[in-house]
């Protein structure tokens, strides 16, 4: 069988901005979406205002707008990263138990999370490096991992040291089991699952090259 996977080996890996735009393209119009703290937040900049996508922040709001600046800063209105944000028409506020009931109950269409590691069967590790000196802090990570119909990961495929972050089994403490639907990285897009990893597209490398570097089987 010939591959239908777009292999864009001759272009460089995606920048963070390109990756954010790539993910934004896959979020259906009209979705309710939670963008995790850190890099996933940048996806918001690439969502079409016409798409009617509503952003959730787990500290109790739907209809979150862009970050607030200048006089618009209101310390009673922040996102989950404690960054001041704004409110869009049609927003709604609710308390923490209601907000996490919404997540746990599977009402969000999409959430996008950062990750330290994702396993070939979709386990997620994104809250703790396992360093015994680290002070443990989970926040809403575990709730988000079960908290949407589709849990997407946005991460670099390799650490600065070159270690793979898409792994046969997570070595870091888990955030959630078999919860990741799709992994968007600078080098490619992957779908983990019970039958192993399917590769959907690559950037700056061929499927064969990634298979070698990751040491993980990649289905087309």
């Amino acid at each position: 069988m010939t591959s239908s996977v777009p292999e864009r080996a001759h272009r460089p890996p995606l920048t963070t901005d390109e990756l954010a735009a790539r993910i934004a393209r896959d979020i259906p119009a009209g979705s309710y979406v939670n963008l995790g703290i850190g890099r996933p937040t940048r996806i918001a900049e690439h969502l079409s205002p016409d798409a009617g996508i509503v952003l959730h922040t787990e500290n109790g709001m739907l209809g979150m707008g862009p970050a607030a600046t200048g006089d618009a800063v209101d310390t009673d209105l922040t996102n989950a990263g404690k960054v001041p944000v704004t409110e869009l028409p049609g927003a709604a506020y609710f308390h923490h138990a209601d907000s996490f009931a919404m997540m746990r109950g599977g009402h969000l269409d999409v959430c996008v999370l950062g990750a330290f590691q994702v396993s070939v069967d979709g386990d997620l590790a994104n809250w703790h490096t396992g360093d015994p000196d680290a002070i443990p802090a989970v926040g809403g990570a575990m709730d988000l991992a079960v908290g949407a119909k589709e849990v997407l990961v946005m991460m670099k495929l390799f650490t600065r040291d070159g270690a793979a972050k898409l792994v046969p089994a997570c070595t870091y403490p888990l955030t959630g089991q078999a919860c990741v639907r799709r992994v968007y990285t600078d080098h490619g897009v992957f779908e983990p699952g019970p039958d192993g990893v399917k590769v959907l597209e690559t950037y700056g490398a061929t499927v064969a090259e990634l298979r070698d570097r990751l040491g993980v089987d990649l289905r087309r």
């Binding site: 922040t57 787990e58 500290n59 109790g60 709001m61 800063v73 209101d74 310390t75 009673d76 209105l77 922040t78 996102n79 404690k82 960054v83 001041p84 409110e87 506020y93 609710f94 308390h95 923490h96 138990a97 907000s99 996490f100 009931a101 997540m103 746990r104 386990d123 703790h128 680290a134 002070i135 443990p136 802090a137 989970v138 926040g139 809403g140 990570a141 575990m142 709730d143 991992a145 079960v146 908290g147 403490p173 888990l174 955030t175 959630g176 089991q177």
Partner: protein
């Protein structure tokens, strides 16, 4: 019973006993009951277990309570922040215990405590270190972990406006844990920026009915800086 209106924050937190479990509202600085915490520091209760989302920012609020050495244990979801140096030092010195709970489980355990639920099965944390040693159960093909309620002897929360019956409304995402904690403590103390007559707050918009609020006190709104909010 009827909500009482305290003249001062000191009166509002009077009687908190050593060894109490204190639920403290807020998510970062938003909704943090600064004035009540300052009063609690003056009041002097020690050996406290504090339940809150974070473990204090900078030198104010919860961080000040921790720094004063009044806290034996913190139950929270996210102690580690860029300026949580007070907690970090105490923790590394072994001078404060820590129980980390996923944020939604923290909220739901207090909700259960306030709602008379003896325990509940949550899908959150299954297969992770935070569920280690906890009972699990398969229900309809999915694995859940059994979680038990959290209740407090006292809750300290911050709301926006109250009427004299103790009905509360909040402001934006400063609502966060306040309404849940108000249901889950034996004595609930709320600081608000304004206290109005009954009938002023539209009954359709009340978030925390007065039945949950034991003591009210008025405190000036603080103008926090962007930096304060971001930390």
């Amino acid at each position: 019973m009827t909500t009482t209106i305290a003249a001062t924050t000191d009166e509002a937190v009077a009687g908190v006993e050593d060894g109490s479990t204190v639920l403290v509202g807020g998510f970062g600085l938003a909704g943090m009951p600064f004035d009540l915490i300052d009063a609690l520091i003056r009041q002097g209760a020690r050996d406290l277990t504090v339940v809150s989302n974070n473990a204090g920012n900078g030198d104010v609020g919860l961080a000040a309570l921790l720094k004063a050495g009044r806290v034996r244990k913190v139950i929270c979801s996210f102690p580690r922040q860029s300026d949580s140096y007070v907690f970090d030092e105490l923790y590394r010195a072994g001078r404060v215990e820590l129980e980390v709970v996923p944020q939604g489980t923290l909220a739901e355990r207090m909700r259960a405590g306030g709602a008379g639920i003896g325990g509940f099965y949550s899908p959150v944390g299954v297969g992770t270190p935070l569920a280690a040693g906890k009972e699990t159960r398969e229900i309809d093909g999915r694995t859940y972990v059994l979680e038990f309620p959290i209740t407090g002897d006292v809750a300290l929360i911050s709301a926006h406006r109250a009427d004299t019956l103790g009905n509360l409304v909040y402001r934006k995402t400063a609502r966060n844990f306040g309404p849940v904690m108000a249901t889950a403590a034996a004595t609930v103390v709320a600081q608000v920026t304004e206290i109005v007559e009954p009938g002023t707050i539209d009954p359709e918009t009340v978030v925390t009915p007065g039945i949950f609020v034991d003591r009210l006190v008025r405190a000036e709104a603080r103008r926090l800086t962007v930096e304060g909010a971001r930390r």
